[in-house]
């Protein structure tokens, strides 16, 4: 299955990309599974997505958690805590 990943703000800069299409073997992974795949890349990925960093997840533009399931065609966004207003 394919996922669209979206990176925003500081994470966009750190990963050097605002979007990517990720092909995943698993049928119904959780957000946590996807994060682990990204952490395995090492470098900025491992650093920014380590458990002691605070970042937020949205699945299909709704705030989600590590246990949220993702499916084919979903959009998974990863971003720092928001600072607008």
């Amino acid at each position: 299955m394919k996922l669209k990943l979206v990176f925003l703000a500081k994470l966009r800069e750190r990963f050097g990309a605002s979007e990517e299409i990720l092909v995943v073997d698993s049928e119904s992974p959780t957000v946590s599974d996807i994060i682990n795949l990204l952490v395995a890349r090492g470098g900025a990925w491992a650093e920014e997505l380590s458990v002691d960093r605070s970042y937020r997840i949205a699945v299909n533009q709704e705030m989600g958690g590590f246990e949220t399931l993702v499916g084919d065609g979903d959009e998974l966004a990863i971003f720092p805590p928001v600072t607008g207003g």
Binding site: M63, F79, P81, V82, T83, G84
Partner: protein, 149 residues
């Protein structure tokens, strides 16, 4: 209930006028404007750049408005949030709420700002003499949002 995300500045007088005139039952209009300050964490700020998550932003703001409407007896509300590069004294955000009485209008307006600050996908980056930096989320904002739980 409406929201807008835009690069352009907004006309506070015109926006408030529309909300105030929308219903003859309106007795109270509370509003808030967020402004770029020239100083943050002790450093001079020359510009502030706002990034957002376009696919999600309006949806998130409309959800925050719907939540306010559910909690208080308000007639109308408006959120306008700018993105792009701003400078000190520029307007960032406008929230307007109308109601029959002031208590509801004030509370809903403050609630909208507190929720927007913690739940709407905007991020600030500021330029200072020592370089550009992303603004960190403030624990006081989390605390402000927690009050409404």
């Amino acid at each position: 209930m409406s929201v807008r995300v835009q690069f352009e500045d907004f006309d506070v007088g015109a926006e408030i006028f529309r909300i105030r005139q929308s219903d003859k039952k309106v007795g109270a209009v509370a509003s808030f404007i967020g402004v770029v300050r020239d100083l943050n964490e002790g450093d001079e700020v020359s510009t502030l750049t706002l990034e957002h998550y376009p696919a999600m932003t309006e949806k998130a703001l409309l959800e925050i408005e719907a939540e306010a409407k559910k909690r208080w007896d308000i007639y109308d509300s408006l959120i306008v949030h700018r993105v792009g590069t701003l400078k000190p004294l520029d307007q960032i955000v406008l929230v307007v709420v109308s109601s029959a009485h002031r208590g509801e209008a004030f509370q809903a307006c403050e609630f909208l700002m507190d929720y927007l600050k913690t739940k709407a996908p905007f991020w600030k980056k500021e330029s200072t003499p020592s370089g550009d930096r992303w603004v960190d989320a403030r624990s006081t904002d989390d605390a402000a949002a927690e009050r409404w739980k």
